[in-house]
Symmetry: C2
């Protein structure tokens, strides 16, 4: 029986993830993936801030590069709600959607919509070959509802 430090175990998982996707395992990529584990809908800047303490010397450009690589490999999902910068998330396997606050930009997950399946089929696709459907709900988050004049 081998005893592994929890931290190490997580990093091993992430290494395997990268490896499995045909990507080289680098400290920056592991750090970005780790940062995404504990954050939902993080943007490049948040991730940069999260990575910096443990991996000083990392550049913002590297973070963008890593995120682009992870996205191309299908390991992270990128959403760009109107008015926000690009946000990244690790939940890629399920087909969940997003609630975005019109006032503060906060993003929350919606696990499913009622009658989800039919939503993925438009009635007339104008010759498009459809790959995915993205649903964004706009409104006011809990906090911002109290700020109205």
């Amino acid at each position: 029986m081998t005893i592994t430090l929890p931290q190490k175990a997580v990093t091993d998982d992430l290494s395997a993830l990268l490896h499995g996707a045909g990507l080289r395992v680098t400290a920056q990529r592991l750090a970005v993936l780790l940062a995404l584990e504990s954050r939902r809908h993080a943007d490049a800047d948040e991730i940069f801030d999260a990575v910096r303490p443990t991996l000083p010397g990392t550049s913002v450009q590297a973070v963008y590069g890593v995120l682009n690589a992870l996205h191309s490999a299908g390991l992270v999902r990128r959403i760009e709600p109107a008015g926000s910068t690009a946000r990244y998330e690790r939940r890629i396997d399920d087909n969940h959607h997003h609630l975005v606050c019109e006032r503060c930009g906060r993003v929350e997950d919606v696990d499913c919509v009622v009658g989800a399946a039919p939503c993925l089929t438009p009635s007339d696709s104008s010759g498009f070959e459809i790959h995915s459907a993205e649903i964004t709900f706009w409104g006011l988050c809990n906090e911002c509802q109290h700020f109205r004049g």
Copy 2:
């Protein structure tokens, strides 16, 4: 019986539209609205190009200003698909959705989705007060389907 030039009639309609929304009627606003009549999902730059010939001296900033005013007044809808600049459209009364080409960024309208109504209700809204739902279908347009390797 009065005979009105068609061009003039359209402009009168647009003037009434602006007036009804409590906005001042200016040449730039009429020109932008007119440009939007014949264009679907136009961005600020396209509109600027469309306005310039008939109204030289108009600045890009003015176009942005007009579009923001029209949007705030609810006269135009603004969509910002990931990877594109903001696009504007006059169809605001209906609740239609969009097809966006992942390759060339082309945007098409989808009149309705099968089972449209249920789509507007998420199962768990996390305390959000929901105002609207936006559906974007991602895929390849007719043209871009032939460019695949």
